[in-house]
Symmetry: C2
DNA sequence: CGCGGGCCGGAGCGCCGCTCTCGTCCCGGC
DNA sequence: GCCGGGACGAGAGCGGCGCTCCGGCCCGCG
């Protein structure tokens, strides 16, 4: 691991990192739509054309920032879960809170990940691994709870336990949730949607003049999401 | 109502509408980030500077499109609810389906409403009325169900029925949900978040390689959201 | 019916993403 | 050690963008 020995490659890696760092700083300040290659180049004191030696286009630069952001929020979720104690519900709740804290601290990065996609943009394959880290943390907690027999019988949505699968086979295999029970994977998916959706509403301004206590509402929403899959979480 | 009598004002209203119409067409094709005042002007065969006689800036033009889109999705939700039959659960589910259908048919408009906000943008006051139409339709169904005694006792999230209110007083007044019961307003809010969040995940590509049957998952998610507030919905 | 004010087109400013060319400079193989 | 070549940076440039200013036309109001 580490940079290759040749001095040229090392310099290239350093400058690439510097460009990315400057771009990240500008992203955090002005947001993705206003991020400009020329401004990044100015910040670094180089010609704008020189930046294109390291990133073929603005989209490629943004993609690198996306991958880093997915890794950052994924790491935050994993760290939160690790610090969440022994029981799966506590780990799940801690991960959710960690994701929200990260999002509030990095609103523009969060928008880049979970906001409107750029119409022409196609996510490269190397983004899906980092993007999966957060949902995998949530799924791992549910899977642990299921294995330990800690899941209550699911509430609400009665009579929907049968029917064809709604998720792809690779997801079924990746999440590690015991199959066969009534749409547990699909319900766990709902926890992910609830987590990101609630944070999105908060950050995107839809709770303006609506929700007065954002953190309190987040706790309530997560408690509701946990209840929908029968995951018991520690009382606050 | 109607356009003022003076011919000048009438012509102005007509051209304003034509500009908005051309902008809407461009929005539907290329999305909000790529919508350009110059292209709209080209489409109408006029100089780009002439457009600024009718909309002071690109932001103002986008705001007009936002208001129209909120009204369109709000009308879709209201029509859906009207056609949803007599029982509140059926109306609620029909409204949710109508919103999803509208969103799938108008993905760029949906992104404009519920995607990442433009960093510098401040939503004018005249957007909040149209923006409230969809959540008010959902709230009305819950309020009707509560008044008719059709709400099951809420499931999950036990022990969270008390504590300070989390929503603003004006929301409490506007939604018309009987107060006093255990956070019913906050739970109904969760249905709105689940609706928009689920559609966002679908349209923004987060279900790529994850959910195979999008419509089926939407039904399941909405059933779960209904269960969380104790609203009984017709079985499919 | 005259005239004034709204309207339009065109030029222009400073940005943007991206490309091409050209001179330089330094790494690496001999 | 030396030389060749490839990576590199700078600059100019292209087309497009949002937005502004100015001059002239012309239509509708009084």
């Amino acid at each position: 691991m580490g940079t290759p020995g040749t001095a040229r490659a090392r310099a290239r890696a350093e400058i690439t990192a510097a460009v990315k760092e400057a771009a990240r700083a500008q992203l955090a300040q002005v947001g993705a739509p206003a991020l400009s290659v020329r401004a990044v180049a100015r910040e670094l004191g180089m010609a704008s054309s020189a930046v294109y030696r390291y990133f073929a286009s603005r989209d490629e630069l943004l993609t690198a920032l996306i991958v880093d952001a997915y890794d950052a929020v994924g790491a935050a979720a994993e760290d939160g879960a690790r610090a969440g104690g022994d029981d799966p519900g506590g780990r799940w709740l801690a991960a959710c809170r960690a994701v929200r804290i990260w999002a509030v601290d990095h609103p523009h990065e969060f928008s880049l990940l979970y906001g409107s996609p750029v119409p022409g943009y196609r996510a490269p394959a190397d983004t899906i691994g980092p993007a999966a880290r957060v949902p995998l943390v949530l799924a791992a907690a549910v899977a642990d709870a299921a294995r330990l027999g800690l899941l209550h019988p699911p509430t609400g949505a009665l009579g929907l336990g049968s029917g064809p699968r709604l998720v792809t086979p690779e997801v079924l295999e990746a999440v590690g949730i015991p199959a066969g029970d009534d749409r547990l994977v699909e319900r766990a998916l709902g926890m992910w949607v609830a987590l990101i959706g609630t944070i999105s509403f908060e950050l995107f301004g839809h709770f303006e003049n609506v929700v007065s206590d954002r953190a309190g509402y987040f706790e309530l929403a997560m408690a509701g999401a946990a209840g929908a899959v029968g995951l018991e979480i520690p009382v606050p």
